[in-house]
């Protein structure tokens, strides 16, 4: 892999943006990423996004010759980076703009998602009352806890650890430090998941510019982030049928491919972002990345190893649980990894040179991994 991320930015406001549509959030994310890269829309020839990349391209005056509309849920943007790197290597595009925008809270200009009683989920999940993500994405969590001799305290400790990061991040939506007892005293949405164990619901967006060294603006080369390795995978569409419900076979395949491509060892990872729509995912994510033995991630979290000053800094913006979560969080996990590698993060990990980003999507039925680094 020789692709570079030369532009990365989030929308100015995160949280509640009632004066911006989904398209407007994508456009702002794209414009800010272009400004960060020092590029004009006319220098972009490829576009990707989970919303409507051709609509975003038109709004920005871009005439693409490569378009990727991959949408597997929240990890889509990790796949866009992977696909963009491949397209650039193949000569199908030179500079790709990836955008995300979602009005998760204000619901301005969102694409309606009516029930589809003929879909797999409409036939086999929704009739039982399984529709909100905290009733589907979360279904394997009890199995994971049970199989490893853990309980709800392990979920609460993830929240406690991530609040230690978000407390240091001015843009984070939830910044109060919490104790395990306070987390467990919060109302249940779908037991064992209490409110702080479930991601935020926000408006916001962001953008990335991916290119090759040959087409990178000269001023960006020193702060460019290298795409060292990538992977992706998908499991059956119904969460009950994923082959490894207490882990994630899709995440494991993605991680193994990404590490093989990068040549990095697990020990060389300085910083980790794991898609955390729910508090069990950082545990399962660390294990499927190969950064903790099966069932042992909770010990690392409980011992403070993923917290500030720990050996495995994890979700250093506070994550989807405490920073922001528009509905498809993957863009923000990548943004925080880029900030850490540029040494521009509010809660900076000293000397971070490599970052592993794991995204989940499709209610735990898809996954993607990026290994990023900076010279």
């Amino acid at each position: 892999m020789s692709a570079l991320i030369v532009g990365a930015a989030e929308t100015d406001a995160l949280g509640r943006n009632p004066d911006q549509s989904v398209l407007g959030l994508n456009v702002e994310g794209g414009l800010r990423a272009l400004a960060d890269a020092g590029l004009e829309p006319g220098q972009i020839d490829g576009v990707a996004g989970a919303y409507s990349p051709h609509g975003v391209a038109h709004a920005l005056g871009i005439t693409p010759r490569w378009v990727d509309t991959t949408n597997v849920g929240g990890c889509s943007f990790l796949m866009h980076v992977r696909h963009a790197a491949a397209a650039i290597a193949a000569g199908h595009a030179t500079r790709v703009l990836i955008t995300h925008g979602e009005s998760g809270r204000s619901r301005i200009g969102t694409v309606p998602r009516p029930r589809d009683p003929q879909s797999w989920t409409g036939q086999f999940e929704e009739p039982y009352g399984a529709k909100p993500p905290y009733t589907r994405f979360t279904l394997p969590a009890m199995r994971y806890l049970h199989d490893h001799g853990l309980d709800e305290v392990a979920l609460a400790e993830v929240v406690v650890a991530q609040r230690r990061w978000s407390a240091r991040v001015p843009r984070a939506g939830r910044r109060d430090l919490l104790s395990v007892e306070e987390v467990l005293a919060a109302p249940s949405l779908a037991w064992p998941f209490r409110v702080p164990m479930v991601c935020m619901l926000t408006d916001g967006g962001g953008g990335l510019v991916v290119t090759s060294a040959e087409h990178a603006p000269a001023a960006q080369r020193a702060r460019a982030v290298h795409v060292l390795g990538t992977g992706e995978g998908a499991d059956p569409l119904l969460v009950a049928q994923v082959p490894d419900p207490a882990g994630s076979s899709a995440a494991r395949r993605a991680a193994d491919d990404a590490f093989a491509e990068s040549g990095l060892t697990r020990a060389e990872v300085d910083h980790v972002m794991v898609y955390d729509a729910f508090a069990h995912l950082p545990l399962i994510g660390l294990e499927n990345l190969g950064l903790a033995p099966p069932g042992k991630a909770a010990e690392l979290v409980g011992a403070g190893e993923t917290s500030p000053g720990g050996s495995l800094p994890l979700n250093t913006n506070g994550g989807g649980l405490a920073y922001t979560h528009t509905g498809m969080y993957g863009m923000f996990a990548i943004q925080e990894a880029v900030r850490q590698l540029r040494h521009e993060a509010p809660a900076q990990v000293p000397g971070a040179r490599t970052s592993a980003v794991l995204g989940f999507g499709g209610m735990f039925t898809a996954a993607a991994v990026l290994l990023l680094g900076r010279d």
Binding site: Q118, P127, G129, P132, L139, A190, L238, A240
Partner: protein, 144 residues
């Protein structure tokens, strides 16, 4: 405008496709079936064209109706249409045939103390309009 909004949304009920019609026809007879591979013996709740082993020898087979509680959540804040039923137990049950499915656990207090993972469960039926949904209730432990 030719329609007006109804006060309450109806329960979501499955609408079969040609591929899933045999499954839902079976539920109308209060029979639970799964799609089974004659070559490797593995099964899935929803139909497949080709098994992961490569075989196309797939057909519908009757389930015993017995299984074990694989995982669950207790839904306290459901979609509004299900509000009157909350809290309820949304579960993954693993059938004796090795098939996992999303379902509900009924005839049980919706509290963690009553929901031991791997406890045996057996088939019940939940009527939703014209559709019968397979759900499960705790069953006595088999004699050791």
């Amino acid at each position: 405008m030719t329609t007006t909004a109804t006060a309450t949304e109806p329960y979501p009920v499955p609408r079969p496709t040609p591929e899933t019609r045999p499954y839902w026809d079976a539920t109308a007879r209060h029979e639970l079936v799964h799609h089974r591979c004659a070559s490797c013996g593995s099964g899935t709740q929803h139909p497949r064209a080709i098994c992961g082993c490569g075989s196309t020898a797939l057909s519908w087979a009757l389930c015993s109706g017995r299984g074990r509680l694989h995982s669950y959540v207790i839904v306290h804040r459901p979609e509004p249409v299900f509000a009157a039923e909350a809290p309820f137990v949304l579960a993954v049950v693993e059938l004796d045939e090795g098939v996992r499915m999303t379902t509900r656990i009924v005839e049980v207090d919706p509290v963690p103390e009553a929901l031991r993972l791997d406890m045996p469960v057996e088939l019940r039926w939940l009527e939703r309009g014209s559709v019968s949904l397979p759900v499960f209730a705790p069953s006595p432990e088999p004699a050791a």
